[in-house]
Symmetry: C2
């Protein structure tokens, strides 16, 4: 028996949506949201293509959570709280009916788990067939106190540059999953590949940074590439120090053995950590956030006026190959 689009929606996606507003059980042409009063709404949209943004071996649950979380990470960088999302799913025409249904069932289960984790629901979307690879496009909607959203612009000379968590884990995890990097230690392998599969959108941090950070961005293309985006939007430059960059224990173990992978720390994509700038007067408050919040916030350098973005070593020499264009290239 062939399960068509409407049956898949009814069976697997409708339970992820509200019966009343905004989603009306996905039985309508569109969702209707009464905006929370005193709040601005925040919108972001990212698309993920199999073989380009995730591995064909990734499970449907992993794809679901990654698609959702990379968008929530954008909301985090704006200081917004997630509200809901719309989803377009293009399923390969070569999936037979059974595979299609089991894929969608597991994909929906991944969404369901993350909906609980992040207190959001599905507002609507579209399910289509494609002769190409599986493609997920997701639009996330968030809310932030009126006029208080964080932006990429706003960084000023002498602001301190911070980054959350640790860098390069996901890029190393991807290399392990692709088999280009061999790692014997199962715990290291598992930590790093999990960091690739399951971004942790820093939503709580983003909200806490409102009033403290002068600019913020989430690191999706790699530290130096996203630092360049922040600096360009702010009309400033930056210097960061390679010895300050936060490296996880697992990544540290890999780099000790394979120092050639060190550039993944500043150029590897998929970190989904927050990179943000803080005026001197708020540095103490940010350090307290770090101590109380259970999430490392590491100062990695300073904003300057000269429009250059430099990664420096301990001798203040530029690190080779760490120019502005070292991040993930979409083409």
């Amino acid at each position: 028996m062939s399960v068509g689009e409407f049956d898949l929606i009814e069976k697997y996606f409708a339970p992820l949506a509200s019966k009343g507003p905004p989603a009306f059980g996905l039985q309508d042409d569109a969702a209707v949201l009464h905006p929370p009063s005193g709040q601005d709404l925040v919108f972001t949209k990212d698309a993920l293509v199999a073989t380009v943004h995730f591995l064909e071996s990734d499970s449907p649950e992993q794809v679901a959570k990654k698609a959702l979380r990379v968008n929530l990470s954008d909301l985090a960088s704006m200081g917004a709280e997630p509200v809901g999302y719309l989803l377009a799913l293009a399923l390969p025409a070569h999936f037979d009916a059974e595979h299609r249904e089991s894929w969608v069932r597991n994909f929906a289960r991944g969404l369901e788990e993350d909906q609980k984790e992040f207190s959001i629901s599905l507002f609507g979307g579209d399910t289509v067939s494609t002769p190409g690879p599986l493609t997920v496009s997701l639009t996330a909607i968030g809310a932030v106190e009126k006029g208080r959203a964080l932006h990429r612009f706003g960084a000023k000379a002498d602001d301190h540059i911070f980054v959350s968590g640790s860098l390069g884990d996901a890029a190393l995890g991807l290399a392990i999953l692709q088999g280009t990097l061999q790692e014997e230690n199962a715990a290291v392998r598992s930590f790093l590949s999990d960091r690739y599969h399951l971004p942790r959108p820093r939503l709580k941090l983003g909200r806490a940074l409102i009033g403290l950070a002068s600019a913020a961005i989430d690191i999706s293309d790699g530290l130096m590439a996203d630092l360049a985006h922040l600096c360009e939007a702010s009309g400033v430059g930056a210097q960061v120090f390679d010895f300050n960059l936060p490296v996880s224990g697992a990544a540290g173990k890999v780099l000790e053995r394979l120092p050639a992978y060190k550039n993944r720390i500043w150029s590897g994509g998929d970190d989904y950590e927050l990179l943000f700038t803080v005026p001197a007067k708020h540095v103490g408050a940010v350090n307290r956030l770090s101590e109380e919040g259970g999430l490392a916030l590491t100062e990695i350098g300073q904003i300057n006026e000269d429009r250059h973005i430099r990664l420096l070593d301990q001798n203040w020499h530029a690190v080779a190959g760490a120019g502005e264009k070292t991040g993930f290239r979409h083409f």
Copy 2:
């Protein structure tokens, strides 16, 4: 010289976005919208895949306008006014740099023309590469007076069923473009293929129907399929009469010669007309809308309580092959 994602965005998409809020020149992780006061926000998302939802021979301008307009048609069916949109564009990896840039330039030109037509702007999005066919996913955002949105549910027994414009034109146009239907008359060919390429979202009508229509839906999957959706959401049935269905002069000419295509009128997709139900007391007002608005609104049947959806001929016999499942099947 290779033009990368960021350059394409800067060069072709940023000019479609506001420099300040909500889009901040696409220089931010997300858009920030201050919701219009006293309004609900309406969200809809449709994806279009080359070879599935549009022809590979369609021009980038046509694809842009179709992607935008099918979403605006959903807003129309809710009675909403468009505000803005987010766009995810997956470009085939096999496009060389020159083709990619010229495709995006023309695509953006199509968007620009329609932004003027519909007074909207680009809020944000994502441009990625795909090993598969060109894919466009678009999220449209609209606004409607608080609590007044039209829905698919709400139709009641004895309500009159109306449809805007004419039916089946786009399906016949598609058959002509695909070469399965031969049509010598250039004016007929051009009218019908234009109806396929360029949906007219019935936004003005949708807004005018607030307070008059008991339920509404836009016809994308074909009259009978979308009537079934409306009836299912409303918990009712319907009977419509084939001799009442509005047929354009061009479609009439084709059907005279090739009566086998007649089922396209009630089962062909891509009409993007509004199908709506009206309680007896508002039928006069709807007829006046039709006279004054320059858009034909045709009464085609009635809602009933028995949960069956029937297309009847002049002898009240069911039209063969016009069951509920005759519309566009997504799988």
